[in-house]
Each structure stands twice: as structure tokens, then as C-alpha cells.
């Protein structure tokens, strides 16, 4: 059976894409968990959070019934605290550092508690922050993703008037268009953006694309400073024969479609190969399976110990029934009538560490052939090389170069998030937005 949509019933789609990390059902459950927290000093969990949320404090505030204070503690460090509670790979961040791990006990469910503290506040758009009076400065931000909006919120709090230019018709960036559908709902993403902008002083101009209907020069001329939070683009090319065949798709595009269409409209193959072993690859694989693909195989050129995803993520894929093909590197895609039919991979072996520090895979000379009808490319995303070169922004292969965390080579132009780091997590982008905002604030007060 070829690539097609409507493989499942409505109920099956709903079931397969229901939330993977459900919230606490009631206050008692949240309190039982919150009370377990030891309230560590100089807490390891905080050190695991790129935005340094004061976790013991917000959990303590849940136990004392000060929910609004708890939300404030979270949002003052991370305005995407609600989204992060759903999408952060906490097993390698805060929860991974929880001291209970050292007792071989379940770590505190920090993410779930964070969600408990923030959900109602976001939905009711409760006023958590008072914006300082306008200081008469204007900043343009490009990209309404986590980096851009986090920067916007800090600036607005400090009385700066912010205009955000976003090429899509919705805010949230990859939070809205990239994260697996079973982690965040589109409704939540929209509510989160509304909550962030509800502070006032932030205007988002949608369908405005830098390099298309706006230029950097215009922004520099009309604003006191510019922040670029444009993220990265589509998936890297495989650069192997057969890449142009029908049925070879880009993971980012595939997931974008899942996030913007009704699930039944998303076509998926019968036998799917996903190339890569990072978070995006996992999401592409699990969601293919959940859309009704019979067989999903993840292809990775190194072995399990070198994987880029966390064990928790890998387990999701394994539990979904995805197969893992370790030590295999795509060599060629063979088609029939212009459509994908076979994926040929080199069997690899590991050698000495390469420039990434991981053992370098080299072909053994053997190959394997997988019968597939769809190949999803998920081996990292390509930065917007052309765009950044057009404006003379110093960069490394498209990743914008910055000093002091966010300053580009152009005076008054700052950048952060995936656009700079090449693609990490939402929480890293949020911190980058904060760093950008503080750099811009000192730039504004100096000029």
C-alpha cells in the first residue's frame, strides 16, 4: 500500500495523539508530589535548567497554596514555563539532577508541577507582571518563536515597545509548528502566545518575512535595536542518489503538516524509514506510527550509545513499535515509477572519535536493503545561510556568530535561539531571548 492519508478512524487518531504527559488530575495529587520536594539548597535541579527557574521555591509555593506566586516564580525566569513543562526533555535537565535519583527514588515530577502552577494562569491570562511605563524606545524582533517572544516579554516588562515580525500566521515558532502533537496542543500554543503578549507593549505582525517583505536595513532605521530569533530551516539534505524521488520527505515539513492540518489529512507510508536519531527523528518516527504506518524503522549511522535523543525519547519510539537500525548509513534510494521502493544503507563500524567527540562511523563494505515506501529525512536542520549572508551577518555555515551571548557583528543587531546554536531545545531559546533582552537593554541605556 502506498503513501496515503485517512488510515485510521477519528477515535484512533484522537487516542494516538492524546497527551503523553497528562497533568495532575487534582490538587491533592499535586500536593502529594510537591510535598516530596526536599527544598534543596543551591538545588541541583536549578542548575539543570538553562533558564534557572527557582524550582524549590515554586514547588514550596504550591504547598503553601500560593499558586499565583508559584507561577510568578516560574515565569520571571521562563515566560514559556507552561510550554516547557510539556516539551522539555526534563530527564536530562531539572529532573535528571533531582537528588532523589541518588536514592534510586523517582525524581520529583518537576515538569508536571510546573504545569500545575501555570496552566490556570495561562488560560485565564491572569496578570502576573506589571509592565513598566514606556521608556520611549522601540525594538524590532524577527521571529515569534521561543527566543523572539522571550526577548519581547523581558523588553516589554522594562517599558520597551516591541514589534515582532513573523513570517507565519501564528506565533510560537517550532513550539507551534514543530513539537510532537502529543506533547502540546495547538490550542495551548495559541493560549501561551496570547498569555505572553497580554502584558501589552508587544505587537506581532504576522505574515511578515525578513528578506521578503521587510529588510534588515528598514528595521535598523525604524527601531532602536533589532533581535533575530529566526530559528533554523528545513532538514539537512542526505546528498545521496534518489533523494528527489516521490516519497522522500523532510521531517520538519512532515511535522509542520501534522501541526497545521487535521490528522486524517496527513499522508504516511506503509513502511517508513526515518533517517536520524535526534529528537526530530524520534518525533517523525513516532508520529508516523501513530498516523497508522505499519512499519517504521529508524536508521542511525552510529550505535545506541551515541544517540542524540534521550533514553526517555527512545523508549517512546520503541513502545510505539518503531524498529531501530543501528550502524547503518543511507547510501541510495531506489525508486520504481518515480516512487520510493528501496533504501540501501552501508553497514557501518565505529572508529576513533571524530570532531564531534563521538566515534567516527566508517563503512564496513557490507550493505543492507530495506523495502520502504517513504523516507523521512531528520539529520539536523539547515540554518538560513543565504538570508544571513545577504545582510552581512557573520556566521558559521549559517549559524549566526555572536559575542557576549547575543551580539552580532552589526551594531544594534542581536540574535539568539536555534538561529545561533543551530538547534537545541525550547528552554535554551528562551534563555537566549532573555540574554538578548538584557544586552539590548544595556545597549539602549548607553545610546
Amino acid at each position: 500500500m502506498p503513501i496515503k492519508n485517512k488510515r485510521l478512524s477519528e477515535e484512533q487518531y484522537t487516542h494516538n495523539f492524546s497527551e503523553i504527559h497528562p497533568p495532575f488530575e487534582n490538587k491533592e495529587a499535586a500536593l502529594v508530589e510537591a510535598t516530596r520536594c526536599l527544598f534543596c539548597y543551591d538545588a541541583p535541579c536549578i542548575k539543570g535548567c538553562p533558564t534557572r527557574i527557582n524550582i524549590p521555591k515554586f514547588i514550596k509555593q504550591i504547598t503553601t497554596g500560593n499558586i499565583q506566586g508559584s507561577a510568578h516564580t516560574i515565569f520571571i525566569s521562563n515566560i514559556f514555563g507552561g510550554g516547557c513543562s510539556r516539551v522539555c526533555p526534563v530527564e536530562k535537565l531539572c529532573e535528571g539532577n533531582c537528588v532523589y535519583n541518588l536514592l534510586e527514588e523517582k525524581p520529583i515530577e518537576i515538569a508536571r508541577l510546573q504545569r500545575w502552577a501555570t496552566d490556570k494562569i495561562i488560560n485565564n491570562k491572569t496578570r502576573v507582571f506589571e509592565r513598566k511605563p514606556s521608556i520611549g524606545k522601540k525594538v524590532a524582533i524577527v521571529g515569534a518563536g521561543p527566543a523572539g517572544l522571550s526577548c519581547a516579554h523581558v523588553l516589554s516588562r522594562e517599558g520597551v515597545d516591541v514589534t515582532v515580525f513573523e513570517k507565519e500566521s501564528k506565533g510560537g515558532g517550532l513550539m507551534t509548528f514543530g513539537i510532537a502533537a502529543y506533547k502540546v496542543t495547538p490550542e495551548f500554543c495559541a493560549a501561551e502566545v496570547d498569555f505572553i503578549t497580554s502584558i501589552g507593549g508587544i505587537e506581532i505582525k504576522y505574515n511578515s518575512e525578513l528578506g521578503k517583505n521587510i529588510t534588515l536595513e528598514e528595521l535598523q532605521k525604524n527601531y532602536d535595536a533589532v533581535y533575530l530569533g529566526i530559528g533554523v530551516g528545513l532538514a539537512n539534505k542526505l546528498n545521496i542518489p534518489g533523494e528527489e524521488l516521490e516519497g522522500v520527505v523532510d521531517a520538519i515539513k512532515f511535522i509542520y503538516d501534522i501541526r497545521t492540518n487535521s490528522l486524517a489529512n496527513i499522508p504516511v507510508g506503509n513502511k517508513v524509514a526515518v533517517i536520524g536519531m535526534g529528537m526530530t527523528a524520534i518525533d517523525a518516527a513516532t508520529q508516523s506510527k501513530r498516523l497508522g504506518a505499519d512499519e517504521v524503522t529508524m536508521i542511525y549511522r552510529r550505535s545506541e550509545s551515541e544517540k542524540n535523543c534521550t533514553q526517555v525519547e527512545l523508549d517512546i519510539a520503541l513502545l510505539d513499535g518503531c524498529k531501530m537500525q543501528w550502524l547503518a548509513s543511507p547510501k541510495e534510494i531506489i525508486g520504481e515509477n518515480g516512487k520510493v521502493k528501496l533504501l540501501v544503507c552501508d553497514v557501518m563500524k565505529l572508529g576513533l572519535p571524530d570532531h564531534t567527540g563521538k566515534p567516527a562511523p566508517t563503512p564496513t563494505g557490507e550493505t543492507i536493503r530495506l523495502e520502504v515506501d517513504m523516507v523521512i529525512k531528520a539529520t539536523g536542520q539547515s540554518p538560513f545561510v543565504d538570508l544571513v549572508n545577504t545582510y552581512g551577518l557573520e556566521n558559521i555555515k549559517g549559524k549566526i556568530s555572536v559575542k557576549n551571548k547575543s551580539q552580532t557583528n552589526i551594531n544594534g543587531v542581536y540574535a539568539g535561539g536555534d538561529a545561533v546554536n543551530g538547534g537545541k531545545e525550547v528552554v535554551d531559546a528562551v534563555q537566549a531571548g532573555k540574554d538578548g533582552a538584557s544586552a539590548i537593554l544595556s545597549f539602549l541605556s548607553d545610546s
Binding site: L38, F39, C40, Y41, P44, C45, V99, L103
Partner: protein, 422 residues
């Protein structure tokens, strides 16, 4: 096989656990259920002139996720007709002749009322009487309860009236709402009481509803001071009990220990400080009569482990270890030690010591885990770090005597030894 059998002034019970005078003992159905569950005896809910109660009646203190660390009530003595109570007492004794049946009394404040009440109770076949001199609310306004227990002269007078009429053992229950229970205890012993029991509840305000601004328990927009009991009061009860066990006049009579007993460990502690029977109220009210099972089993297995055959082998054993501060050995010294293999790096010991004690723990920053170690030369051995450490036996206190010989404060001063220099 160790045995929990108890003989208190000739009143026998299969174990030392009696239910204290309170709602669990206020009617036949409860008491029968308690005896079926295995309780050794009951002190029947206080009888006197019938009263009327209000609604609501109870409030509580919760702590760090745990419910009812402390319990508070504004109930009075029995609000059921005296005749019914007496009839039910007879019936219960008949069904469970091997259990202790003590009846708590609070008569009107004259000799005749006491004599009449005692006669009626003795006619039921009850094994003993407990005089309620401790109820801290409602009754005091009428010159009864704590008002009697707070004034040694009045207490003595009432006990004398009682002793004129009583033929069965009399236990006088003391109120803790005094600076010291010893003066009243002494007066009651001198007036002839056969035994003492303590403590009754402690006057309290448990909290205020932050919406209505009315303290709890709430009674139509108002509240009153209540009587506090439950686990929170155990340390206070133990202290009062110890003072009774130390005093040469009060320690001549047996004592029934009450106040916050919830586990067999609490029970062992009351016995070690001189109680020879135990009374329980809140623990039963919060978990039901079934708690008697572990109260007995836990105590028995501890006794077997320690080689005690009966409770009489260890009653009062800890009393001599409570001394005066000025007799403590100043040359005794211990310092904290952190077992680095057990440490989970929570930093609680560090911040407590650094902010509030003696700055005796050093911190070495790590990512994500800091390392904490004791500065032995600074450590005064206060125990704070060990008390708050969440891991058992991670912080231990290790003896480092200053000098081998015993040295108390008086001697220390007499020798003109130096005080701390920083």
C-alpha cells in the same frame, strides 16, 4: 514470650492501652467495638450534669502534607443522659469483664453532688474513677474542670470529698494549662488520690480562616479557645509526666500517661518516663480502633528485642537520666560527620548551619552536585544538621570528648576555665 498484661491499682487489663475519656468512649457501641478490636480498657466519657454541645466542634493542624498533627476540640463532658450512660456501662462490663472500666467524673462543685455521682458509678461495677480536673473549655466558666485543676487548694478539697465516698480506686486527671502540674499533683496525692493521669488538652487557637477571618472551629461566626491534643502535644505531656515522676510526693502513686500517643514508640516513651498505663484519644479518632494492633505488636517486639518480659521491667527507666542542666557534663562533646557515600547533596545541612547555627559546614561547588563537609573544629555538636538530613544515618554524631573526666558547669566556673573566644 513477653506479656503486656497490666495491673494498675488492682485494675487488670490485657494491655496497658486504655481509650481516654472522650467521644471514643461515650457509648456502648463504640466501647464494644474498641474491646473487640483489642483495647485493654476505657475511661468512659466524663459524666456529670448533662450538657449541650455546639456545632462545629473540632479543628486541626496539618503539617507538611500530613493531616492532623494536632487536634483541637470545644466539646463538653457527656451530653447524653446519665442513666443511659450508667446502664450501658453495666452492660459493657458484663460483656468484657477482663477489660478495665474507669469512669470519668465531673460533678457539680459541692460535696453532695460528688458523693451521689460516685455512688451511682460504683453501683455499675466500674473498676475505677477518674476525676476530670482538666477540661479547659466550657466547664471552667462554671468552676469545674481546669478551674479545679489549676488551683491546688480547690483540687485538694474536691479530692478529699471524693475519697470520703469512694470504695474503688480514684485517678485524678491533671490539666496541663498550668506552669507546673506538680503543685496540684502534690495536693491531690496529699488529699488521698490513688493515682494521677495526665495530660488533658491544652488551651489553643489552631488557626484562622483567612477568608472569614474567624478562628476555627467555626460556630456561627465565632469561635472559642479549644483543647489541643494529638501528636503535637506529646513532648509537652512527656515533660509534665517526667516532673510528676521526679517529685518525691507525686511519684508515690501510679500515673496513667496521656497526650499524643499514636504509636508503640510513643507508648514506650511514656512508660519509660514513669507511666504505668496509657490512654489514647486522638490517634483512635483519626484512624479508628484498629491501631491497637500495632500499638501492641510493636511494643511487644521491642520488649522482646530488649529482653523485657513485662512492662514493669522498664517503667520509669529513663527518669533518672533527666537531670539538671548544671549537672550535665561539659567535657562531653560530639561532632557531626557526613557519610559522603550516602550524601545526596541536597545542601539542607549546609544552609541550616550556615544561616542559623555555627557555620561549621563547608561547601565545594560542583555541577550539579556540591560537596558538603563538616569543619570539625567549628562544630559544636548541636545536632541541627543531623535532624534535618533527609537520608538516614548519612549524618552521624561522633563522640570527641574534650577531656576524659566528668566536669559540670559549677565545677567549670569554680576552676575559672575559659569561655568561648569567638
Amino acid at each position: 514470650m513477653a506479656s503486656l498484661e497490666t495491673n494498675f491499682l488492682g485494675i487488670k487489663s490485657p494491655n496497658p492501652y486504655w481509650l481516654a475519656s472522650a467521644p471514643p468512649t461515650d457509648k456502648k457501641i463504640n466501647v464494644l467495638r474498641a474491646f473487640e478490636a483489642g483495647w485493654g480498657g476505657v475511661v468512659w466519657k466524663t459524666l456529670g450534669s448533662q450538657v449541650k454541645n455546639v456545632s462545629s466542634r473540632y479543628s486541626a493542624i496539618n503539617f507538611h502534607g500530613g493531616k492532623v498533627m494536632g487536634f483541637n476540640n470545644i466539646e463538653l463532658i457527656s451530653d447524653r443522659p446519665l442513666d443511659i450512660n450508667l446502664k450501658e456501662i453495666v452492660e459493657v462490663i458484663k460483656e468484657f469483664p477482663d477489660r478495665a472500666m474507669i469512669v470519668s467524673l465531673m460533678a457539680d462543685n459541692n460535696k453532695q453532688s460528688w458523693h451521689e455521682l460516685i455512688k451511682k458509678v460504683e453501683d455499675t461495677g466500674a473498676h475505677g474513677i477518674e476525676l476530670n480536673f482538666g477540661c479547659p473549655h466550657g466547664m471552667t466558666e462554671r468552676g469545674m474542670g481546669a478551674a479545679v485543676g489549676q488551683d491546688p487548694e480547690i483540687a485538694k478539697m474536691v479530692v478529699e470529698w471524693v475519697m470520703e465516698a469512694a470504695h474503688i480506686p480514684v485517678i485524678t486527671k491533671l490539666t496541663p494549662n498550668v506552669h507546673s502540674v506538680v503543685p496540684t499533683g502534690k495536693a491531690c496525692v496529699q488529699a488521698g488520690t490513688n493515682a494521677l493521669s495526665l495530660i488533658n488538652t491544652i488551651q489553643s487557637v489552631t488557626g484562622i480562616d483567612l477568608d472569614t477571618l474567624v478562628p476555627n472551629p467555626y460556630v456561627g461566626g465565632k469561635s472559642v479557645f479549644g483543647g489541643y491534643c494529638g501528636p503535637a502535644v506529646k513532648p509537652i505531656a512527656l515533660k509534665f509526666l517526667a516532673t510528676i515522676s521526679q517529685n518525691e510526693i507525686t511519684n508515690k502513686v501510679p500515673v496513667s500517661g496521656i497526650g499524643g500517643i499514636s504509636t508503640w514508640k510513643d507508648a514506650a516513651e511514656f512508660l519509660l518516663l514513669g507511666a504505668s498505663s496509657l490512654q489514647v484519644c486522638t490517634a483512635a479518632m483519626t484512624h479508628g480502633f484498629r491501631i491497637i494492633e500495632d500499638l501492641c505488636e510493636g511494643l511487644l517486639s521491642w520488649m522482646e528485642e530488649k529482653g523485657y518480659n513485662t512492662i514493669y521491667d522498664f517503667i520509669g527507666k529513663s527518669v533518672p537520666t533527666l537531670t539538671h542542666w548544671e549537672d550535665l557534663d561539659i567535657n562531653y562533646h560530639h561532632v557531626a560527620n557526613i557519610n559522603q557515600d550516602k550524601c545526596i547533596h541536597c545542601g539542607l545541612c549546609y544552609i541550616a548551619c550556615e544561616d542559623t547555627s555555627h557555620q561549621s559546614i563547608s561547601i565545594t561547588q560542583g555541577n550539579p552536585y556540591n560537596t558538603y563537609s563538616i569543619k570539625e573544629e567549628e562544630c559544636v555538636g548541636c545536632n541541627l544538621c543531623q535532624l534535618i538530613c533527609p537520608v538516614e544515618n548519612c549524618i552521624t554524631m561522633i563522640e570527641h570528648r574534650v577531656a576524659p573526666e566528668y566536669l559540670n558547669w559549677k565545677e567549670f566556673q569554680a576552676r575559672g576555665l575559659p569561655l568561648n573566644d569567638h
